[in-house]
Symmetry: C2
Amino acid sequence: MTTIKKVKWKPGTMIYPIPVAMVSCGTSVKDANIITIAWTGTMSSNPPYCYIGVRKSRYSYDIIRKTGEFVINLTSTKLVRAADWCGVKSGRDHAKFKEMKLTPTPSSAVAAPMILESPISIECRVKQMLELGSHDVFIAEVLAIHADERYLDKKTGALHLSKAGLVAYSHGQYYELGRNLGKFGFSVKKKK
Amino acid sequence: MTTIKKVKWKPGTMIYPIPVAMVSCGTSVKDANIITIAWTGTMSSNPPYCYIGVRKSRYSYDIIRKTGEFVINLTSTKLVRAADWCGVKSGRDHAKFKEMKLTPTPSSAVAAPMILESPISIECRVKQMLELGSHDVFIAEVLAIHADERYLDKKTGALHLSKAGLVAYSHGQYYELGRNLGKFGFSVKKKK
């Protein structure tokens, strides 16, 4: 029997691993910006609601506040360098799409363009805002999703997201997803 | 040059990979329950705010609503079977701690016990509730964190979370974290 000892820490942000969201915003492909966000997630399934937490000081904050729209583009291993760079640099000083050789592409339900190179783009419209301290939270409804057709099964239409090479972020580090540990519900599945 | 084609989908919940939170709740180690939650994340850094999205029908919903407290326990590879089971089964029918051989342990700031076997336990007090549809969202302040001392550097006190073997959830599947792709800021770090 292992004796486990837990040590108390000061409060902080320790929910990991989390997604790496390249959030695109703006009114057209010409003025589009990208901000990389770790404080994001799904809040409700039906209707689908999600959120992003953004500091007021960020260049994208005013854009999203004004337009009430953004697109969450998931980060693949191929995009991790651009995602990191878009999280560190500011759209005040850089044309991020151009400098990262990414392609702003018109969305279907919002004016904010999506990132063509991202495997999954999620169009969002802000429904509510919360001021919680360092970050303001934009709560948004998901209006549409666009998936790279390479990850869709041509026969069934099923999405094979595992092929997209999504990146997780945990305590300051980016990771590939590793070994598959099972499918939701595996613990109660009867063995054949 | 690769030609990328994106295919439009119906709106849904597609922000991945995400954490696997074993949320413990209750008023003491005697009546503690566990619900596994995927709709969770950090909302703001300072003060640290997080959330969980819970269906009204879940057994833990009324407990958290009444007590205004819960603990987010992160899932390691050793805990993934218990996490899956606690997400499928109901505390109405099962003594989850006992059946999964987990140890409810008193927290420091809330009455809800933590799961001793989890590498990281995050004590939370609800500050606000949102009704968004299928899930209600409990927005909570992080009051304290407890880390398994095996993952703390004895000299520096630094947390080596990568040793904890955290589990990610993506589109219905559980995964280990895989290859490290770099540290936050790596894209702008000058080479020595």
